[in-house]
Symmetry: C3
Subunit: 208 residues, 3 copies
């Protein structure tokens, strides 16, 4: 029940991040709405396709679509009247990343998959919506942009926390909440204090 | 029967739009063919994956592939000898959008989905092939490019028309044809007269 | 058995190509790892989704994931200490293309599909991982970049060779090896000697 509420919040914040990203370009209302929808449902759709879960979550329960549309419209209305708070896009994205990562991990777990699959599926689910948003807006994906830090790292750390806590006997719901806090906290900390993992730069190859 | 013929025309025009887009770059024959195939089958493939319809339409009936290859080759041969008519790409794209939107909506309907899913599925199906074409050609998707107008809007309006007409008692085939006319007409009108929805511009956020 | 070993080598070389491409940008360790994973499993995942093969290969057998992670880490460690050999990325990509094309063709064949589907599926499987890598790194896909030659052509030629040899009575394993040699050989020959198919340039259309 709590997790259902959280998953609705997850699609809402990702919808807001999609609307903010698209709204910074000169798209029309419907274009912004479409990008918001794709951002919000992209990760969960990929998760459901990979795990062969049908009907896809937003086909099975159209509440998600209405929440997405509502969140996108609210974001646009707010954004037209006043400038969104600094880093609003990054924060919305961090929250969406947290919710989707843990929901992807949870559902992989419910399907009886092993720990490594749970972590990979959580990471892919968390990361996919934002990557889709950035590809559709033709920007370097936030995930990979130089200087952007601890994005996939935060997802992996959170999914791992979720798994380890359960192994240690924590019930699922608090473990999920802890995992989300790890993802969102790590990502936000990285944004505000510019935390970085060591770069993995490979020696220069000639350009193609 | 008419709808099967229309779906073949749909893949043919999207194949032509893919071949035109790829042919404007210095790709070789086979590269242009591959982009034409992906453009033409992308939207329907996404539709079938999301609705768990297997075999995917072009796997179940390879006629589609031969039509795509034929249309792409014809486009290239024509395009090498004389310049394609102005806006040929935009017109081919508008027709493909019309056919795929309505076919996506129809198939979602056949699977017993509700109105909101029918509209979303029609829009995704219509939009996906062209977005894939533009991403593969590394251009800003036509859907979202600044100044490009009423793209997803046309798809949504057409799918809605199709639904509403059926609710009012119109048989499926004329409702489908009317829906396609709405999509194609709205999109072409927008191109030639530069119709635009109000922009949904969000106040400037700092660049990332 | 040999083919299982080859498929592990296939994901390893594509992982290396993903790590090399990502490592040339200033991504952190985990970011490079994620791109390597997506590159390595992208083509086979698309194949399994399109053919409705569940569980997806890397979910069914997590050995693939460990091989991918190992190959990516080894590539980064090697690349940090000394410059990778010239054209290392292109060669790794050519080998990955060869393995994935033939494995895609084989699996389509096992599912009883016709020759045209086997060739299309082989080509899509071979091409998808590298396209995903390039889109995620926000580069023009290697497949389509001007001057890049015989990419999809090599995949199509190899899949066709594989099919024709079997029709002529060659057992599956040698036919598969011959197909891989054709893909890899043609692609490498094209890279080193700049072989090219005739361009399919379409007369200029006005820019959008």
């Amino acid at each position: 029940m709590i997790l259902y509420a959280l998953s609705l919040i997850g699609v809402a914040v990702f919808a807001a991040s999609g609307a903010l990203a698209a709204g910074r370009k000169s798209f029309d209302w419907i274009g912004v709405l479409v990008i918001a929808v794709m951002t919000a449902i992209g990760g969960g759709t990929l998760r459901d396709l990979l795990l062969d879960r049908h009907a896809i979550f937003w086909i099975a329960d159209t509440t998600y679509l209405w929440v997405v549309v509502g969140a996108a419209v609210a974001t646009i209305l707010y954004g037209r009247r006043q400038s969104p708070p600094d880093r609003a896009l990054l924060v919305a994205d961090a929250l969406g990343l947290a919710f989707f990562t843990i929901s992807g991990a949870q559902i992989a777990e419910q399907h009886g998959h092993s720990g490594s699959i749970v972590i990979v599926m959580g990471t892919l689910t968390g990361v996919a919506g934002g990557v889709l948003r950035d590809v559709l807006c033709n920007e370097v994906p936030l995930l990979f942009g130089p200087g952007e830090t601890l994005y996939a790292t935060a997802a992996i750390a959170g999914a791992t926390t979720y798994l380890v806590l359960q192994t240690l006997g924590t019930p699922q719901t608090p473990a999920a909440l802890a995992g989300m806090v790890v993802v969102g906290g790590l990502r936000l900390a990285a944004i505000f204090w510019r935390l970085q993992l060591p770069s993995a730069r490979v020696q220069g190859d000639e350009p193609r």
